[in-house]
Structure formats: structure tokens, C-alpha cells
């Protein structure tokens, strides 16, 4: 009993300590962001590895999710004779929820884990230490460009996911199931609001991009410098950032659409 209490206590202390370190780390990284605008080439390289290399998985996933939404939405709506609202259902689901959330989850698995592994390996092979000794701050040179790149890339990827998803819903709904094309687009245009829906979705994906990348680079930087440690850190990145995305999604949804 006492043992368990003690374990609980030390686990909470550890968590708190890690949280503290994570925030301190973030502060130190953020001081390096302004300098990056003079050396944007570094950021562009990272946008390539976190953004361009995630394009395919995001595009394909968006297409399939949109097609499934088209099918399921149609089957439900047709019972009410409301299949012309299919466009609305598909677009709202994607723009408000699935676009930001699924893109962020895929991003955590594809780009986040890669970031953690990359930084963790740089630590394990003393590349970060070597930079420090060359008077180059790895937080500014290595971590800051990656954080900024993730922050820029995810909102664009989420927008792509939603846009491709709408196209997927259109192919299935209009192309295969015979929903009226004009109704599909005009109802969608009518019921989806630029600010309430699209902009809120973009805000979500900005928040997710920031949090996922933050967790990924912190886990990499904080890793135990062994191959086993890097492996564990990578797993933690995916688990923690996925949970963070889903939890934050609830909070943001309640704040944005809660009234």
C-alpha cells in the first residue's frame, strides 16, 4: 500500500518535472526563432522533411476518409430524403473535425516520430554535444527550424486533407450515388461558414501542429542517449502527441462550437 503510494508520488513528481523541463526547453527554443528568418533555408529544409514527405499519406488518407464519409453520409441521409445535404455533412465533418484531427494524428506518426528519432540519434551520437562545443546552440540550430517547420506544415496538410476529402465525398456522392451536383455544392456553400467552420478548423490545426512538433522535438532532445532510449522516445512521441491532439480537440471544440 505504502509502496504503491510512493510509486504514485514519484510518478507524479517525474511527470511534473518533465512538464517543467518541456516548457523551459520551449522557451529556449523560441528565443531562436527570430534568428531563423535570416536563415530561412534551414526552415525550408525541414518543411521538406516534415511537410513534403507527408504529402502522399495525407492526400491518400484524405481521399479515402472523404469517400467513406460520402458513402456513410448518403446511407444515413437518404432515409430522411435529405441526401442533397450530403455536401454539407461531408464538408462540415472534414473541416471542423476530421481534417485537423486525422491530419495531426498522421503527422504525429509520420513526421513527429521521424523528428524524435532524428534528434534523439543526433544526441546519442554526440552530434548535439559537438555543436555545443563548436559554440553553436543546438536548440537554435537544430530544434528551432524543426519546430517552425512543423508549425507551418501541419495547417497546410490539414487543409489539403479536407479539400481532398471533399473531393472524395463528391466523387462518391455525385459520381457514384447520383446526388444532384448543384445541390451538393450550393448546400455546402450555404451551410459551411468561413469563420465558424473553416477558420476554426485552421486554428485547430495550427494548435495541433505546434503541440505535436513541440512534443516530438522535446522527446528527441530529452531522450536517453542509447538506441533503446531513442526507440522509447519515438513511441512516446506518437502516444503522447496523439493523446494531446484528441484531448485538445475536445477542449477547442467546446470553446469554438460549444454555444
Amino acid at each position: 500500500m505504502l509502496d504503491q503510494l510512493q510509486r504514485l508520488g514519484s510518478a507524479s513528481l517525474n511527470t511534473l518535472e518533465r512538464l517543467g523541463r518541456g516548457h523551459l526547453f520551449l522557451l529556449n527554443v523560441l528565443t531562436g526563432i527570430p534568428g531563423l528568418f535570416l536563415r530561412f533555408r534551414l526552415v525550408i529544409h525541414q518543411i521538406y522533411s516534415v511537410g513534403v514527405l507527408s504529402l502522399l499519406i495525407i492526400g491518400v488518407a484524405g481521399l479515402f476518409v472523404g469517400m467513406v464519409l460520402g458513402l456513410q453520409g448518403y446511407n444515413t441521409l437518404v432515409d430522411f430524403g435529405a441526401e442533397e445535404s450530403l455536401g454539407v455533412v461531408v464538408a462540415l465533418t472534414l473541416v471542423r473535425e476530421l481534417g485537423p484531427v486525422v491530419a495531426a494524428l498522421l503527422f504525429a506518426g509520420r513526421a513527429g516520430s521521424a523528428l524524435t528519432a532524428e534528434i534523439g540519434l543526433m544526441k546519442a551520437t554526440e552530434q548535439l554535444s559537438a555543436m555545443e562545443m563548436m559554440a553553436v546552440d543546438p536548440l537554435h540550430r537544430v530544434v528551432a527550424p524543426r519546430l517552425l517547420a512543423g508549425f507551418i506544415a501541419l495547417p497546410l496538410l490539414a487543409a489539403l486533407f479536407s479539400a481532398v476529402g471533399v473531393m472524395g465525398g463528391y466523387f462518391v456522392g455525385v459520381g457514384l450515388l447520383g446526388v444532384d451536383e448543384g445541390a451538393f455544392w450550393s448546400q455546402m456553400e450555404d451551410k459551411v461558414d468561413l469563420f465558424d467552420d473553416v477558420l476554426n478548423g485552421v486554428i485547430k490545426s495550427i494548435v495541433f501542429g505546434f503541440v505535436v512538433t513541440w512534443i516530438a522535438v522535446f522527446e528527441g532532445y530529452d531522450t536517453t542517449p542509447t538506441s533503446e532510449g531513442v526507440g522509447r522516445a519515438t513511441t512516446r512521441t506518437v502516444v503522447h502527441s496523439s493523446l494531446a491532439v484528441l484531448g485538445l480537440d475536445f477542449v477547442l471544440t467546446a470553446l469554438m462550437f460549444g454555444d
Binding site: 533555408r41 435529405a82 479536407s162 461558414d193
Partner: protein, 153 residues
């Protein structure tokens, strides 16, 4: 050098694709076009009950959207709802005996204002009111009435 050129081109393409997606979401999926055409003149109408009518609900005439609800107020004296709507300048010949009713699109759909033109030669101008109005049909009331009439039989 060559490789970093390729990377830059890819990143440029990536940003372009992302922005194009955002643009599509804004223009094609959402109602940015409806937001921009807010030019028009204001008419108002009193209703006993507006049901689920909202700001930006459409105002239609013969099924064509001629304007949108721009604000909804409450009259402290008559205990009625006052609905202001912005009508597009294009439709400047609405007779002053036109009636305004609140309808529901479909069984569970959104509510909107439907205008039915009268025969008068005088047209409504900025700030005028509709004299003939019909409130929203509240489903619960209907069902209530239906049950009561059944019970009476």
C-alpha cells in the same frame, strides 16, 4: 547546390498546394461569396414567433434568395420579434403589400423567410416594414393541437 534547389522547388510546390486547398475551402466549400455581397437595403418585419430563424438565414422570393437576415431584435412593447433583413439592390420592386412568412426547408431543415409578392404598385423602401407576416410553425405546437383535436373526437 543542385539538391537544395530540388528541395526548394518541392517546398514551393507544397506551400502552393496547401494554400490552394485553403483557398478552395474558403471559396468553394464555405460561403465567403455570401459574406461579400452584403450590399442592399434594409426591411423589417415583426413576427409573433421566429422559431429557429438565425442571423444570415436566407430571405427568398419564389424560391430565389433575394437577401439575408441581418439582425434580430425583441420589441419590449408588443412582445414580438423584430427581424431586419438586407435585401439585394437588384430586387428593388417588392410591393408594399408583400407578406413575409417563416418556413422550414424540409422537415427538419433550416428556417428561412419566404416573401409572397402582393399586387400593389408601391414598392418597399429602405427601413419599411412588412405588414403581413406569418410566424414560424412550431412543431411541438402542431403536435399538441393535433393530439388535442384527436382527443376531442
Amino acid at each position: 547546390m543542385e539538391q537544395s534547389r530540388v528541395i526548394q522547388i518541392w517546398v514551393g510546390l507544397f506551400v502552393a498546394i496547401g494554400l490552394a486547398s485553403l483557398f478552395m475551402l474558403a471559396m468553394k466549400v464555405s460561403n465567403i461569396s455570401a459574406l461579400t455581397e452584403q450590399d442592399g437595403y434594409i426591411l423589417k418585419a415583426n413576427f409573433e414567433n421566429i422559431g429557429g430563424l438565425k442571423i444570415r438565414s436566407p430571405v427568398t422570393m419564389a424560391g430565389v434568395v433575394v437577401g439575408r437576415v441581418s439582425s434580430i431584435d425583441f420589441d419590449r412593447n408588443t412582445y414580438e420579434a423584430v427581424v431586419f433583413m438586407t435585401i439585394d439592390f437588384k430586387f428593388d420592386n417588392i410591393p408594399d403589400d408583400t407578406s413575409a412568412s417563416i418556413f422550414t426547408s424540409g422537415l427538419l431543415g433550416e428556417q428561412y423567410i419566404g416573401l409572397e409578392a402582393g399586387g400593389s404598385q408601391d414598392y418597399l423602401k429602405e427601413g419599411d416594414s412588412f405588414t403581413l407576416t406569418q410566424s414560424a410553425v412550431v412543431l411541438e405546437k402542431l403536435i399538441g393541437q393535433f393530439l388535442v383535436s384527436k382527443a376531442d373526437e
